[in-house]
């Protein structure tokens, strides 16, 4: 059961081979056993989960089921959940209980899924290692000395360690795809606007996008069916006809044009990762796809542009955490300014403070044009690179991350090294394109390597087809970390 696909779990529930309560209990026990060492979850509340599971079982008895009814799903602690703590990995929200559910949570609740718990993450999703959480670092199930990637590291680790059959994440510069790669699971960041951001605590509004993490592309398709959809409460949500993202899964790949950007195979790419990706490309050729060399000439500018735009938006988005209405407030202060200063100094960790400072700086009078406006121009150039690329190919494929997982603490003192982790994933966010990562082998120290697939706008079904066909031909996604020590 721990290794079963969502389709299998759904069938088992429908055939009453297992109840939702039993299934939920099974995963809760797994969480209880492993969370002490992996720290993938911030909040677990068995009673609440089991109450939902009981309701799901009643639905199953009545036959009023949807594909996810009764299936436990772990949610990144960035999605607000009524009556659950929602911390965003931060001390400043360490006491926050939302009075409303995020749109994504509403969708899962509506589908009859069970909330398994809230997963650990980099504070306010700012990080690529899940080390900046106020609740301590998440450990990589493939080796506990290593980071699981971030910021959705808790979700990735939970799926990798089979503590959850599926999880949600958010991706601003790679926060679903990079942890999926480093933890050996599949993750999808949809086209910007496909999944509502309502109730998803904002980091950088123009880049943030929610998406699923799971063991396979097929599972991702099922999860995306539940998550995607227009929401009038998010003005950037895209109004389009609902689609079944499973519909193209079984299409053969013959004739598929795979764009291979030379910029993603140059300096900085570790040999072990490069070799695994090359092997994957060869696998695709065996499946009938052909390689098309492409260029993304402006992708070298993506990290600097991202580290202007994302902190700029974050500095403003995080202003609401001021200790006035909710969240942490300093115990003692002299006056209003001192209250703000102490509350935010105590409430935010170092990385969040750094990004707020950068963002405040780039938006300041006299600097705005040189930084923010210029970064927006670069953003358009990067989007145009992809427009050109997609004239010649159907998907762009490369490594998700330049290296396999690194040791906890290894990059904590060097933010720029940390930021370079997302060099291949950031362009998709800047362009608003969908991107995904699937396991494609192992590198140094038997750590997983992720394959990055970027598609054109709203081509999620095609990307899932590409990934699923690859997963039918390989078994990297079925490998699980051995010997996790409780």
């Amino acid at each position: 059961m721990l290794n079963a696909s969502l389709k299998e779990l759904s069938a088992a529930l429908a055939q009453r081979k297992i109840s939702s309560v039993e299934l939920t209990r099974l995963f809760l026990e797994r969480v209880e056993k492993l969370n002490g060492s992996l720290n993938a979850f911030i909040t677990v509340d068995a009673e609440k989960s089991l109450a939902q599971a009981r309701a799901a079982d009643e639905r199953i008895v009545k036959g009023a089921t949807q594909p996810l009814t009764g299936i436990p799903v772990a949610h990144k602690d960035i999605f607000v959940t009524r009556s659950w703590l929602t911390t965003c990995g931060s001390r400043i929200l360490s006491n926050f209980v939302s009075p409303y559910d995020a749109h994504v949570i509403e969708r899962f609740n509506g589908a009859g899924a069970v909330i398994l718990g809230k997963t650990n993450m980099d504070e306010f999703a700012m990080g690529s290692s899940s080390e900046t959480s106020f609740y301590g670092p998440v450990k990589n199930p493939w080796g506990q000395a290593y980071v699981p990637g971030g910021s959705s590291g808790g979700s990735a680790a939970a799926v990798a360690a089979r503590m959850a059959p599926a999880a949600t994440g958010t991706d601003t510069g790679g926060s679903i795809r990079q942890p999926a790669a480093l933890s050996g699971v599949s993750g999808l960041k949809p086209t910007y606007g496909l999944v509502s951001r309502y109730g998803m605590i904002a980091f950088a509004s123009s880049l943030d996008q929610g998406g699923p993490l799971a063991k396979s592309a097929e599972d991702l398709a099922l999860l995306l069916n539940a998550m995607a959809g227009f929401d009038a409460r998010d003005s950037t949500s895209v109004e389009r006809v609902a689609e079944d993202y499973r519909r193209e899964l079984d299409k053969p790949l013959a004739g598929l044009r795979i764009g291979v950007p030379k910029e993603h195979f140059g300096e900085g790419l570790a040999g072990d990762v490069g070799r695994a990706v090359e092997a994957a490309l060869e696998e695709f050729e065996k499946l009938g796809a052909k390689r098309v060399p492409i260029g993304l000439p402006n992708s070298g500018l993506s990290v600097p542009a991202y580290y202007v735009i994302a902190p700029a938006e974050a500095s403003s988005n995080l202003s609401r955490f001021d200790g006035v209405r909710y969240g942490h407030r300093a115990k003692e202060y002299r006056d209003l300014a001192d209250m703000y200063r102490r509350t935010r100094a105590e409430g935010f960790g170092a990385e969040v403070r750094r990004r707020i400072l950068i963002g405040t700086y780039v938006l300041s009078h006299g600097y705005y044009d040189a930084y923010y406006l210029k970064a927006q121009k670069i953003r358009r150039l990067i989007a145009n690179d992809f427009v050109e690329a997609f004239k010649r190919c159907d998907v762009v494929v490369g490594p998700t991350s330049p290296t396999v997982a690194f040791k906890i603490g290894a990059k904590a003192a060097d933010p720029v090294q940390m930021y370079l982790n997302d060099i291949y994933t950031i362009p998709a966010n800047l362009a608003g394109l969908p991107g995904m990562s699937i396991p494609c082998g192992f590198g140094r120290d038997n750590l997983p390597v992720g394959l990055h697939i970027v598609g054109n706008y709203f081509s999620e079904a095609k990307m899932l087809n590409v990934a699923h066909q690859y997963q039918k031909a390989t078994d990297w996604h079925k490998r699980e970390p051995a010997g996790i020590q409780p």
Partner: protein
Amino acid sequence: MNWEIVIGLEAHVQLSTASKMFSGGSTAFGAPPNTQANAVDIALPGVLPVANKGAVERAIRFGLAVGGEKLINRRSVFARKNYFYPDLPKGYQISQYELPIVKGGEIRILTKSGEKAIRLTRAHLEEDAGKSLHEAFQDMSGIDLNRAGVPLLEIVSEPDMRSAEEAVAYARALHFLVVEEIEICDGNMQEGSFRCDANVSVRRPGGALGTRAEIKNLNSFRFLERAIEFDAKRQIEILEGGGKIVQETRLYDPDRDETRSLRTKEEAHDYRYFPDPDLPPLVVKGEWIRQVKDAMPESLRERHKRIVFYGVAAQKADLHIASRTSSTFALSTFAGAPKEEVPTLSNWILGPLSAKLNEENLDIRDSKVSPDQLKELSKRVADGTISATAATSVVLPALWEKEGPVDEIIERRGLKQISDAGAIEKIVDRVLASNAKQVEDYRAGKEKAFNSLVGQVMKETQGKANPAQVNEILKRKLTD
């Protein structure tokens, strides 16, 4: 040497939508603190703004009224103005910065020195902040977020005004436009629905613009006038004493009738404006503008024409269009009334009815006498059932007190005129017999004596005799 005062105004006009600029929260005034602030208004984690269509349409109306379709930007951008204050829940205000919804336009004003056009720089949509209450709590401040997110249209003028009088005339004209003409604001200044910031500077006539002071939050025409007068005088005194004006924000204190410095330019915030990534650019298509245009209320100029067409003198029609509601009342009164009765109806509205409304401090839309009742009443005067005097002095007040339908009141109060010639003749004979002296005087050429005789007849009939008939019968009898 004399000085010239230069004034530009920024008016904050609260738009009369039921819900807020970016949320479904209610905008109703006066609810208990924080009962009209929803998740979006209090900026809970994860909430997002959605622009209010009604507010955008009101801004379009304004653009159409001050210059037409060409003033409306087909693409405008919401921006964040960042600063920390407890009554600003998000830590930023959503406003429009580089691309406002309306650019340019003008407002015409009338002062002692004649008509003048005041140019507008722009008008942009934004949300209001909440309210901080510092007095009611010891060592603490209270925050009321009911007002947070209420939609505002900020209307910025060019520095085209040259006196406090002109500034007040502009503010009044603008107030009239938004409240009465295009109905986008309720105009209640006590409740803060219309407030002004004044930019004031002085210079030698023809010289370069001087350094300005911005006086914030003037919520009455009187305060606006006083604040400008005080500050211009203050600036002139500084300059004449050899000093320099510092650019600063000032507050007007009505209790002391003076302005005080709030912060100087050096202390000013850096608002770090940038386009709000939660809101796509506001796109206004021509089709939408046309829809808004079609739904615009009839202009009061147009209504004036119609009122005159009904038969009211132009100068009196001016009074009927003093407000949207009074023009509506007048038009529904005149509609369907016989043309010859319209002047009387107009006089009733402007005279006795207005007096009643003033007395009870009511807007004409809340009048206790309806246009239809006025028409029924004028019919009864026209057909001779009652006298005009009885109509205004007895029936109108009775209608106001809701004593019942016109005919019932006439009946119950016994106001019906005596129009029976035989009956009047008998009374006239009696009066003539007992007033021999007046009869003699009249015949000797004293016209006044006739009036006295009429009065006697009316007194005998308790005012119910038809005056025209009394005159006629008396004349006939006296010349016999």
